[in-house]
């Protein structure tokens, strides 16, 4: 999944907004832990109270931030922010890839849930 946005601001302004803890809290989620060196952790507090853990895979100041992105209960996926200067502004490309197929399959196969439920019911009947 890829989204691109144009912001009327220089790359250093956009970079500051995506890496400053108080800014992240305003546009993404409250920050519990922030260390943007390679291998460092970004921990976000979700509305549910659960924590989302992101680990820095790659970082290039004002250009690139790539994170292993692990929402609670999901396998890690990869989120990448890439900044490119464009005239008076900056283009931000956001890539969210390697989203766990199983998460998708859970959403895709509603019928599978029904079949599982049916299996459980059959099991209960047989157990009686």
């Amino acid at each position: 999944m890829r989204l691109t946005r144009y912001y009327r601001a220089s790359p250093d302004e956009v970079w500051a907004a995506i890496t400053d803890a108080s800014s992240i809290a305003r546009w993404l989620a409250p920050v519990h832990d922030l260390d943007l060196a390679p291998g460092g952790n970004l921990e976000l507090k979700l509305d549910s109270g659960a924590r989302l853990l992101a680990r820095v895979r790659a970082v290039q100041t004002e250009r690139l931030l790539e994170l292993d992105w692990t929402p609670p209960g999901e396998e890690p996926s990869v989120v990448r922010f890439e900044l490119t200067p464009d005239g008076d502004g900056t283009v931000l490309a956001l890539d969210h890839r390697l989203i766990d197929a199983r998460v998708g399959m859970r959403a895709m196969s509603r019928w599978e849930t029904h079949l599982t439920r049916l299996d459980v019911l059959i099991g209960e009947v047989e157990a009686r």
């Binding site: 956009v14 546009w27 993404l28 931000l92 969210h96």
Partner: protein, 103 residues
């Protein structure tokens, strides 16, 4: 393997793109790839098994087309991620403006 993993393979994804344009025979599909014809047939069989493409007979030929249902479900699922980031990137715009006013 599941339907999403079936789609992760580049040749199969390209086949899906070709079929998104129009219904095609196996020969037509194979002509777009350097891979051998049996190789393409194997990919088509996988896509069929996962319910991503369907076939109909047309005389001697077998025509392949996309089965839209699983792809729509996949799309709806991806839309959730898209909406999440869409909202967040709007909020980022607001935050960039706020920082600028603050300096």
């Amino acid at each position: 393997m599941n339907a999403l993993e079936a789609l992760a393979e580049p040749t199969r994804r390209r086949i899906i793109e070709l079929l998104a344009e129009q219904e095609r025979s196996a020969g037509e599909i194979a002509s777009h790839f350097p891979t051998s014809r049996p190789g393409i047939s194997r990919h088509l069989r996988v896509l069929r098994e996962y319910g991503l493409v369907c076939t109909r007979g047309d005389g001697q030929r077998r025509l392949y087309s996309l089965d839209p249902v699983p792809l729509q479900e996949l799309d709806e699922w991806l839309q959730r991620y898209r909406r999440f980031w869409d909202n967040r990137l709007d909020a980022l715009d607001t935050e960039i403006r706020r920082r600028r006013r603050a300096t």
